[in-house]
């Protein structure tokens, strides 16, 4: 197979082409949709989803799932917003680090339960999803933190333009680069792929699968905490129900981007494109006059299509394995004796 053919067959390339095609198609209905300034707006709108999708990806790669990312975002966001309102003098850097730290701690709780108590990730994070939201309610007493209570610095930094893009977008770019490096060039990233690709083989290779999952959950939490600050500052309000249901968008971005829910398969680029795909649809449909409910149905259909697409690829791979295994079963024990004869 030539390099070009391989490149074209990659799902990342395919997904990119589909997104480009969608942009072109939407431009014919809504002039100006495809111009660079609007694309930059779409990217900025999708920045938080990209970060959260990468958090989700890290966990899903290890054959787990983190349904608590949005609740974690809400709690961390609420905590720093209240702190900013209560003590306006605290430096922003400290607040951001605090958001990341709180998020990481909540993620570590998930990871600990999965690692040490060997609980199924979906049960753990379904539980912590409601617990973290409940904590946000207890913390705030159900009250909102509104724009006028937050400092201008807290609200404006993510909006500052640097080289044509807001800081929010740049933060997403930096997170993408860091997660890319982590997935590809660190022993932890490799261990995450191995833990998800074949947990038993990973154990045999001397990898502590439970600990790898713990780290993945902690990292996921840290990114959710960062997203908490970004969300509160972007929408200039903090309340208990922010980003509700957003954990499903993060899972959807991963699935569309080719991350296998069974673990061990997928790339950072795929996840980013999966998030951008959802971002483009979200931005385009209102422009061409489609109701939010239809949008939800469309997003849902795309997710199912993506899963069908993934399943077909998996099955193709499965067939090869099955064939080998069948041959193994049948030739087992025979070949040696024939060689001997």
């Amino acid at each position: 197979m030539t390099m070009t053919a391989t490149f074209l067959k990659r799902r990342e390339t395919l997904l990119f082409l589909i997104i480009a095609l969608m942009v072109v198609a939407f431009s014919t209905r809504a002039p100006g949709f495809g111009n660079p300034r609007n694309l930059a707006v779409i990217f900025n709108d999708t920045a938080i989803l990209i970060i959260l999708a990468l958090a989700q990806m890290t966990v899903v790669l290890t054959k787990a799932i983190d349904l608590s990312v949005a609740a974690n975002l809400a709690f961390s966001g609420m905590a720093v917003a209240m702190l900013n309102a209560a003590v306006p003098g605290l430096p922003l850097v400290l607040l951001i680090l605090l958001a990341i730290g709180i998020g990481a701690a909540l993620g570590a709780i998930n990871g600990f339960l999965v690692w040490r108590l060997e609980m199924p990730p979906i049960v753990v994070t379904l539980g912590t999803l409601t617990i973290y939201r409940g904590m946000a309610f207890v913390l705030s007493g159900g009250a909102w933190v509104n724009a006028h209570q937050m400092t201008p610095e807290f609200l404006n930094v993510p909006r500052l333009g640097i080289a044509g893009l807001p800081v929010l977008s740049w933060v997403a770019v930096i997170v993408v680069v860091l997660v890319f490096l982590m997935a590809r060039y660190t022993p932890f990233g490799r261990s995450a792929y191995a833990a998800g690709g074949n947990p038993v083989a990973a154990v045999y290779a001397g990898i502590d699968v439970g600990y790898t999952r713990f780290l993945a959950f902690t990292l996921s939490g840290a990114l959710a905490g960062l997203s908490g600050y970004l969300w509160v500052s972007r929408y200039a309000v903090a309340y208990v129900d922010i980003a509700i249901g957003f954990e499903l968008d993060s899972v959807a971005a991963c699935v569309i981007g080719g991350i296998s829910i069974a673990g061990g398969v997928g790339t950072v680029i795929g996840t980013v494109l999966g998030a951008l795909f959802l971002g483009v649809i979200k931005n385009a449909l209102p422009v061409i006059g489609i109701s939010p409910f239809t949008q939800m149905a469309i997003s849902g259909s795309v997710i199912i299509l993506a899963v069908v697409f993934n399943a077909r690829r998996e099955r193709h791979r499965g067939r090869i394995i099955l064939r080998n295994r069948e041959a193994e079963d049948n030739s087992s024990g025979k070949a040696g004796k024939e060689a001997l004869a």
Binding site: A194, A327, E328, K337, A339
Partner: protein, 509 residues
């Protein structure tokens, strides 16, 4: 080769066979798993099917239960030809099988397990629980068991589960009962109970095919025997007139030719010393010393504790007592990571399940246990990884389009090379090979043997588990035989015969 034109035992001509298989062959791509096999089963008679691992016994069972359709030959029931197009067809024809590993459902009740798929129905087509529980109770009582049909399977002991499996097999009106190593997991007392059931089935006129490795059991329960070797039925007859030695000879066949390229190596200093090594359930009081450049073969029946012993040495399970020394220094192994650090690696039998992450590229699989050596400052260096992978790919003559393709796309033999390469890359002192040539093609097999021998010549110490007598006898410097979790002696290769090994492993002198 003895031709078996008339499988009907001479003195039994009066009673017609219930089931006859004539000229059955099963051909898989590249392998003839069964080659013109004839078998006859008679009412009220137990026929023992004897043969080494891989002789074709399981394939025969799969044909009889409708899972495989034979490439050649015919099956007759009561004299008329039948074709089992699927598993249900075999059940309808009255064939039932009790498997070695019983497939049951923990969360369902005993009665549900027995009648799963053919539960009695009420006239509204819903499950008739009362009838189902009553019939399950009847079946269990006929096996002289008092298990309550309404309790969940997970609350039963292994032996009780076995009874449930037998009840399940008997819940369909079967005339032909296949028992595939039914005693493997049972204690002597439970075996006695099982044999009482078998005799009961005999009295009911059922034809029984009894597959076992253990000669004492075979002689105790069966009247007739058939011996398989390399997919052929090489002998049959009445057990009463056949001494055990004859059967062992049939089973083992030819003497071992010098086809294995084990290079003679002068034994070096002790590398691995294991003493008094025990596990709560799997093995007890195992001691051996492995020298530099030596290959220690471990032979035994399936379930003798060979793999469990080696997995424990590799840190997968923790022993209750015993010590391990490497180069004379005691080491504590609590995880595979500890074992790898101490220089012990384990190449598992099930490559797919234990050895490889199939979606990951070849080079990433190869470097997985060596990430410490291919990274600097917390970052992996792809160039180092590729270099390491390339070194071992070349050494093992790995055939792949590129080192970046997923391992899942390789053939079985090449996958095995990736597993071995991955462990060699950790630069171990001791390498444990569990059934190293199971399921790989002849060409790769010879290459693997040559390679193992080369490794020993380079000074690596090797423990090799194998169920294939020619491989054990051809490759090992010494052979440890394991039986029911105990060491049944360590023998030097010189003067060792296949018969001696089989006897030691089956516990029948």
């Amino acid at each position: 080769m003895m031709a078996l034109q008339h499988p009907v035992a001479e003195d039994r001509l009066a009673v017609p066979a219930i089931l006859e298989m004539r000229g059955i062959s099963q051909i898989f791509p590249g392998v003839k798993a069964l080659d013109g096999v004839d078998i006859a089963l008679y009412p009220g008679t137990v026929t023992a099917l004897i043969g080494e691992n891989g002789a074709g016994k399981s394939t025969l069972v799969k044909i009889l239960t409708g899972i495989y359709r034979p490439s050649e030959g015919e099956i007759r029931i009561d004299g008329s030809p039948v074709v089992f197009s699927d598993a249900q067809a075999a059940i309808d024809a009255g064939v039932t099988a009790i498997h070695q590993e019983t497939v049951l459902f923990d969360e369902l009740t005993v009665a549900e397990n027995i009648f799963l798929g053919h539960a009695p129905r009420t006239r509204f087509r819903t499950i008739d629980w009362a009838t189902m529980n009553r019939r399950a109770g009847d079946l269990l009582r006929s096996l002289e068991s008092t298990i309550d049909p309404t309790i969940r399977l997970k609350d039963l002991s292994i032996a009780q589960r076995h009874l449930v499996a037998i009840s399940r097999a008997l819940s369909i009106e079967a005339r032909i009962v296949i028992m595939d190593e039914p005693t493997a997991a049972l204690s002597r007392k439970e075996i006695d109970d099982l044999f009482r059931i078998v005799r009961d089935l005999k009295r009911q006129g059922k034809a029984i095919l009894f597959i076992s490795h253990k000669f004492d059991e075979v002689y105790e329960i069966a009247e007739n025997y058939v011996v398989f070797r390399d997919g052929k039925a090489v002998g049959h007859g009445a057990l009463a007139t056949t001494p055990q030695d004859d059967i062992v000879r049939l089973m083992v066949g030819r003497t071992v030719a010098d086809a294995f390229p084990k290079i003679a190596v002068t034994r070096g200093a002790p590398v691995l010393e294991v003493s008094g090594y025990s596990h709560p359930t799997e093995f007890r009081d195992i001691s051996f010393t492995l020298h530099r450049g030596e290959i220690l073969g471990i032979y035994g029946l399936i379930g003798a504790g060979r793999s469990e012993l080696c997995q424990s040495l590799f840190g997968i399970t923790t022993p209750t007592s015993g010590t391990v020394q490497i180069d004379g220094r005691p080491v504590t192994i609590r995880s595979p990571r500890d074992a790898i650090r101490a220089g012990i690696v384990y190449v598992p039998e099930e490559r797919g399940r234990h050895g490889l992450a199939l979606p990951m590229p070849i080079f990433q699989n190869m470097t997985l246990p060596s990430l410490g050596r291919t990274s600097r400052g917390g970052f992996l260096r792809l160039a180092d990884e590729f270099a390491l992978a390339r070194t071992y790919a070349e050494r093992l003559d790995l055939r792949a389009a590129a080192l970046s393709v997923p391992v899942g796309t390789l053939s079985g033999g090449n996958q095995q090379k990736v597993v071995i390469g991955k462990w060699l890359a950790t630069q171990p002192k001791v390498i444990i090979l569990d059934e190293p040539t199971k399921g790989i093609d002849i060409g790769s097999k010879a290459a693997v043997h040559a390679f193992i021998s080369e490794l020993a010549a380079e000074g690596l110490s090797i423990v090799m588990i194998s169920s294939e007598l020619p491989e054990i006898l051809g490759m090992s410097d010494r052979v440890m035989v394991m039986k029911e979790g105990l060491s049944a002696g360590i023998h030097p290769r010189a003067g060792l015969t296949p018969e001696m090994l089989v006897r030691a492993a089956t516990g029948n002198a």
